[in-house]
């Protein structure tokens, strides 16, 4: 009875497949030199966490599927297999370009004969799979078409452990635990297609109650049946396990397969998909969310970390100088030395590092054998093995400094740089260093992403690539305010901005560009006003912000020394463009505000001070500001404070104020006279 035997073997040997390749380039240039799954996460290779997770789940046999840098993965797995009581095999396939290819390869090799656990080599989780497995098996017994169970974890939408670039929408039926529909969500929803979700109406007919969820961490831990690799072979165009396979299976009427889910609580599960996730997961591990997978449980044989108060983990052989400060959330590997007065916070330092005096390291991930000399400052970056930072180097946020890079003394590495020592062309043997970036004595060059990488990327639209790039930016999430992140995404999507820019700066640039165009091309005031108003609405700004930029913008064009008729005199400019300012000013508050801005901008170096009184006069004459507003401005405290220059300007208006007051009192007295008459 062959079938019965099969059931027995399911219970005897639990198999798992680890996809040790990520099939993307988010960690480049670091992953040009080693495999993604061997990158150290809190000083332990990533794949060790996955092995440990599977070992706890009771897996006895593991197939590690590796593509790039397979020799390194193989060597590591061989070493690891010696200490472990799991049987670990490596399958090498250089040609694989995607998860789909790997699954087809797996099907071709016919290695798996039971239900298996499919994970990627970068999963960090402390969950126990026994209940998931039980559920899956029970379902399989009842219904052969239930081919897969996905493990999902609930988290809030803004959660740091959710990958920004890899959002996903699940349509779920809680009663049958069935996943009904899946759709990936892009961070930048540029096209209408991205913003919409198309779902089969049948789903509503079949399921009385459904949930549409966007609050799940999908760490791609799946319990798959044997059919899954076979289905990949049948549908040879499937690449990704989620957006192609799950989506395809669920939308296909022909296959009649179902996919289920299991929602986990109170456990940790996440995947190191990007550098941003690397940062978040490192912090989760240090904050012990992954307990018992924490540095002081010494996953790696030979490690001997101790836990100290303030979430500091330190090997016994670390040498700390007396005056160095180890603040919160720090991991320090074996034999590392830290010299006097250095300050470390929120960082991971590898083995055998030498850190000089007066070094400040915040939020950085420094791997093994790195030398950092005196007075360096490192913020929110990753520095790979054997890198050398000479004296006084500053590394700004978001940098990836790959293996063996040397940065010369007193160099500042700009934010989001990616440096490598690999020659630009594969044919070239020698590296051409770029002294502009790495300093005179440095070694390394800026890494440029290949334009025409693999076809997988070509399929993706440019926006999605931008998401990839975004994921590189370690600080991206922190930069955005919690609330305006959604709107910023939209505004980003509207123009083809590659980097995230501070909205205020962006508005600055846009306004000045618009004004310049208007001046140069001689637009009418109406057109210029229309353009500026559109800009205001597009950037969710208000009139105050616009005034703040337009008033100095207009006044800057005035050349006090110009002769009349050149179109540059105060009078001419104001006559031409003054109405534009008028368009931005409405009620009395606006008028007062406009005056403050006028005062401030004339006091600053961009606008000549001589412009102030004529401009004020112009405002008054053309009813842009009324006399009440001028008086209110004059007597307000705000106008009397500020720099000396601003005070001087205010005093210059004294005659005008006198005149205004006089006319006002005259009016009043006139009225009184009339009354008395």
């Amino acid at each position: 009875m062959p079938p019965k035997e099969k059931v027995e073997s399911t219970e005897q040997v639990l198999q798992a497949v680890i996809l040790a390749d990520s099939f993307d380039e988010r960690f480049q240039p670091i992953t040009l030199e080693t495999a993604r799954c061997l990158l150290p996460l809190c000083n332990v290779p990533l794949i060790s966490y996955t092995f440990e997770f599977l070992a706890v789940a009771g897996v006895q046999e593991i197939f590690v599927f590796c593509c790039s840098h397979s020799d390194k993965v193989k060597a590591f797995v061989k070493q690891y297999g010696k200490q472990s009581n799991m049987k670990i095999h490596t399958i090498v396939s250089q040609e694989c370009m995607s998860v789909g290819d790997a699954m087809r390869e797996l099907d071709a090799k016919q290695l798996i004969d039971t239900d298996f656990i499919l994970v990627t080599g970068d999963v960090v989780s402390n969950m126990k799979l026994d209940r998931v497995l039980e559920e899956h098996r029970a379902r399989r017994q009842a219904d052969k078409s239930a081919i897969m169970t996905m493990v999902l974890k609930k988290a809030s939408p803004q959660h740091r452990s959710r990958a920004v670039g890899d959002g996903s929408l699940f349509v779920l039926d809680q009663t049958s635990k069935e996943c009904l529909h899946y759709q990936p969500v892009k961070a930048f929803k540029s096209t209408k297609q991205d913003r919409r979700m198309t779902m089969d109406m049948e789903i509503f007919k079949m399921h009385p109650e459904i949930q549409i969820r966007n609050d799940l961490i999908d760490c791609q831990v799946d319990i798959c049946s044997v059919e899954v690799p076979a289905l990949f072979t049948e549908n040879f165009d499937y690449q990704d396990i989620r957006s192609d396979f799950v989506h395809g299976i669920l939308t296909s009427d022909l296959l009649g397969k179902t996919i289920h889910f299991h929602e986990v609580h109170d456990v940790y599960a996440a995947r190191v998909r990007s550098t941003q996730m690397y940062d978040a997961i490192s912090k989760d591990i240090i904050s012990r969310w992954t307990f018992p997978m924490v540095p002081d449980s010494n996953l790696q044989a030979g490690d001997c970390y101790e836990y100290r108060r303030g979430l500091v983990y330190k090997e016994k052989s670390v040498v700390l100088s007396r005056t160095c400060v180890v603040e919160e959330k720090v991991v320090i590997g074996a034999n590392t030395q830290i010299a006097e007065s250095s300050v470390l916070s929120n960082c991971v330092i590898g083995k055998n590092c030498v850190i000089g005096a007066n070094v400040k390291i915040d939020n950085a991930y420094i791997w093994d054998n790195v030398i950092i000399m005196d007075n360096c400052v490192i913020q929110h970056s990753i520095i790979a093995n054997n890198a050398v930072l000479e004296e006084g180097v500053t590394v700004r946020k978001g940098c990836l400094i790959s293996f063996n890079v040397t940065i010369g003394a007193k160099t500042t590495v700009p934010p989001f740089s990616r440096l490598t020592t690999l020659p630009e062309d594969e044919d070239d043997d020698e590296l051409v260093s770029e002294p502009a970036v790495v300093g005179a004595s440095g070694k390394g060059r800026v890494f440029k992403e290949a334009e025409d990488s693999d076809d997988e990327d070509e399929e993706e639209d440019p926006k999605n690539k931008a998401v990839n790039r975004l994921a590189y930016d370690l600080k991206e999430l922190a930069l955005e305010g919690q609330d305006d992140s959604a709107s910023e995404f939209e505004s980003e999507a509207s123009d083809d901005e590659e980097e995230a820019v501070n909205p205020a700066e962006e508005l600055d640039r846009e306004v000045s560009a618009t004004l310049e165009r208007a001046f140069k091309d001689g637009h009418s005031v109406d057109i210029a006003a229309l353009e500026l108003n559109t800009l205001r609405m597009a950037s969710f700004s208000n009139f105050h912000e616009m005034r703040k930029r337009i008033i100095p913008g207009v006044l800057r064009n005035i050349d006090v020394t110009a002769k009349p008729g050149s179109g540059k005199t105060t009078k001419e400019i104001l006559a031409r463009w003054g109405p534009l300012i008028g368009r931005m000013i409405h009620d009395e508050d606006d008028q007062v505000d406009g005056l403050y801005i006028l005062q401030r901008s004339c006091a600053s170096p961009v606008v000549a001070t001589a412009v102030f009184t004529p401009a004020l006069r112009y405002f008054y004459d053309n009813d842009i500001t009324e006399e009440d507003a001028i008086l209110k401005w004059f007597y307000s405290e705000k106008s009397q404070q500020g720099s000396d220059m601003e005070k001087q300007l205010r005093e210059k208006t004294q005659p005008m104020i006198d005149y205004l007051e006089q006319s006002e009192s005259e009016e009043e007295s006139d009225e009184e006279d009339e009354d008395s008459e």
Partner: protein, 356 residues
């Protein structure tokens, strides 16, 4: 054979590391079981070989989870037994100056250290007879029996300590305390207050068990411990470990309860098996603590919050010995000041650390 032993050791190491095996009682029994296999299935001929063997296993186990102090205690007990057996055997063999050899065993440890050098050299040469191997195994079996009877021995003392109509307060869920109270309940009528012991809420489970046994039980929130303390007659605590100075490593909240009891001059009684008594000294309050997943204090789902706050969730408290009035062990009641004596009797001073 050797492979088999190594596999067993690795298995236990992995279990300790992954915290699949926790709790002093379970851990100590597993350790003892492993040691019996290690000693009986390995080839050794001299005392030093055996000591080195046991020490190397012990080192691995302790490194796997240094906070399970009971592992170390059991290893030290076994090492002590081996040394004792060796000395006896040696005495039998030479059969001369019996009194001189017996004397150092009971005198102070520092004196013994002075003589240790020559002793070790002798140990090297002594061949164990076959009977000795079985003697050692027998001694270890005795320890095993002792472990199995610990609850029995402790709970039999219950009627001596709990009187009618008393109000007893306890915290957490300790099997020893549970048995102790149940035994007392069969003889006397009294009331128990259990602090719920957030965030693990073991206290709630404890209360459920006690009320099932027919004891009048009330669960109180941890915050009410001080307020209710004035009405309490006795505080009974369980513990994870007892340190050399008589301090406790007990579930978090114990320190607060003990301090409140001290404030009201209410006796604090600790029920513990002797296998929890460790010769290690707490140089740092945190040294034997475990910091757990903060999930039970602040849910991981709260994504916006967890970036901004640091949550630590220590599982144990260190309770200093001056808060404890009495230890009830399987060998009877002892004040904290007497513990040093028990340590000298049960462990060899050479075995503080397992450096080879």
């Amino acid at each position: 054979m050797s492979l088999n032993k190594n596999e067993l050791v690795d298995d236990l190491v992995a279990k300790l590391k992954r915290r699949q095996l926790v709790g002093s009682s379970a851990v100590s029994q597993a350790t003892l079981k492993l040691l019996v296999v290690v000693i009986s299935k390995n080839n050794w001929s001299t005392a030093n070989q055996l000591l080195t063997l046991v020490k190397s296993v012990g080192q691995k186990l302790i490194q796997a989870n240094p906070t399970e102090l009971a592992v170390g205690n059991i290893i030290r007990r076994v090492l002590h037994v081996i040394r004792e057996e060796y000395r006896e055997a040696e005495n039998d063999k030479t059969n001369t100056e019996f009194h001189h050899h017996a004397a150092p065993l009971t005198t102070s440890s520092s004196m013994y250290n002075l003589l240790g050098e020559s002793g070790a050299a002798q140990e090297e040469q002594v061949q164990f007879s076959h009977s000795l191997r079985s003697n050692i195994i027998q001694e270890i079996r005795d320890i095993k029996i002792e472990l199995e009877n610990i609850h029995e021995n402790i709970k039999n003392q219950a009627p001596l300590h709990i009187h009618s109509n008393e109000i007893i307060m306890t915290i957490g869920r300790s099997k020893t305390v549970e048995e102790f109270l149940k035994m007392a309940a069969s003889k006397r009528k009294f009331q128990v207050l259990v602090a719920e012991t957030a965030p693990s809420y073991h206290g709630q489970e404890m209360a459920l068990e006690l009320s099932k046994a027919g004891i009048e039980t009330t669960v109180i929130p941890d915050s009410a411990v001080f307020a209710v303390m004035s009405r309490v007659n006795k505080v009974i605590l369980g513990t994870h470990a007892v340190l050399a100075n008589g301090g406790l490593v007990a579930i978090s909240g114990s320190h607060m309860m003990a301090a409140a009891a001290k404030h009201h001059s209410i006796p604090v009684v600790v029920c513990t098996g002797l296998y929890k008594l460790s010769p290690l000294y707490p140089y740092d309050e945190d040294s034997f603590n475990v910091t757990m997943n903060p999930d039970s204090v602040l849910g991981f789902e709260e994504g916006d919050l967890i970036e901004k706050v640091t949550v630590t969730n220590p599982y144990y408290d260190y309770v200093s010995p001056d808060f404890v009035n009495l230890f009830i062990t399987n060998q009877g009641g002892h004040p904290p000041s007497y513990l040093y004596r028990l340590i000298v009797e049960n462990y060899d001073p050479d075995d503080q650390t397992f450096d080879l």
